[in-house]
Amino acid sequence: MIDVMLLVLFMIGLGGILVCVGVFLIPIGGAPAAMSTATGVATGCEMITMGAGVTGLFLAAAFYTKSLMFVIITAGVSSALMLAITMLFTNLIVIFGKGVPPAFATKERDPITGDPIKPYVTPGTVGHGVPTAPYLGGVLGSFLAGAGGALAFTAMYRFSSGATLAEFVGVLPQPAPQVAAMALSVITAVGLYLINANIAAYSIRGVIESWLDPKFSKLPRVIAACFSASILFGVLILLVSIGGVG
């Protein structure tokens, strides 16, 4: 039993780290981006974290019997797709609706395409839309966040439905889902995402331009905080779901 509990705690902690690294890679603009005065997606850090995590959670809940690797990768891809579409429509609205080109002010040229990008920044703003480099960072970031969300949820569900150690990484032989265990795991997983999302949100202070931002150097400290907070609250999750529910 102890080995299973330690594995669950480790999976929850790893999920927290993946969610946090994902947030650092996603270009988050917050309210300034909604007015096209900052680069990124026009919503807050916490909502994006929740969105990416919950998209991963949906996939993990749908494929609850499949092997862990399959669940994580599918959930990551679905989450990346979700954010890619969001950023595409952000760009469509910024370019064709507001008539401003995607640009950012931290670098002279786009590191991926090599095009000059700073001259297109409107004076008085720090950028607008989602240019190529933050776009790719965002796709990778939401892949990681979705995978982390799926990892944490899968660990919680398999623990509360009483899986053995081998069943955690392999196929879960369940003919029908245990709905009570799934409902409990969804609520505890959402609680955990909210706790991790806030650590990321406080450390980036609301706005980040993917991996080009100077705030990206804060990442090691934030990973340590997310891992310890996830383990801390993972203990409570173990206490709630130990021995199976319903």
């Binding site: 916490e46 409902a183 706790i195 650590i199 406080y202 907070a229 801390l232 529910v245």
Partner: protein, 267 residues
Amino acid sequence: MGHVTKGAPKKPTINPKYLAIIGVAVGLPGVYLGKFSPLIPAALAVPALVWAADAIRRIAGYGLGTGVPSIGNLAIGMGVLTALVGLRYEPALGVALAALWGIMYGVIIGRLKILEIPVFTRCITELSVGASVGLMALLSAAAGGYTVDFFQGRLMPMIFLTGFVVAVFWATSMTIFHPFNACLGPGEKQTRTLKLAVGVAGIDVTLAGISALGVAGLNPSIMTLEAAVGIIFLGAAVWIGGYYAFIKAAIKESASVMWTGFPEAKK
């Protein structure tokens, strides 16, 4: 008509210590008294939620870098985990864990220099305990009162399987963050914000009552129809009373609008 003094220090007229004592001393016995009638925890959840709203008021004044709702969601994330532990084993244990885990979370955030706000640990502990007590009271009220074998026998099949938990979860989150989010600004006053907090807590109790109505339809042996309707009426009364007091206070404390006449036309 009063007028707003801009830049004056925000003096709390109600000491947060009293709110904390009332919140725990009323909310926690409310959870245990639920075996007599589910109306008791529904009514006694309100002080704990008002206390949590006051804690948000004190911490969000610092400017966290993200919106006020994020810290309300953090409170509910910590609160739901401790509340579930409390409802599974012993509600008093849930409150103790909420306080302990809140302190440890605050220490992690402070030591790793994620956010350097002097009152963070204290406020996050208060938020965690307030959200935990409020959720325990509301969830136990919606499931017919805390009794022996509450978690497996009542909470899981009646609240989690039906999905009512999501409504109570998010409504409680909104109860905690909405009052300060709506009232913030230079003329913010504690008494006015807390009147709104009472009103929004009424919405939360009403939603728990609607969940209780569903539980009464599913299993009349643990929840009578009268009690469920009683919770809805109680919540509606708190809702209307809180908003009435809030709007009266807002009208009384708002800046007066004076008619100064038309500006003289330039010649």
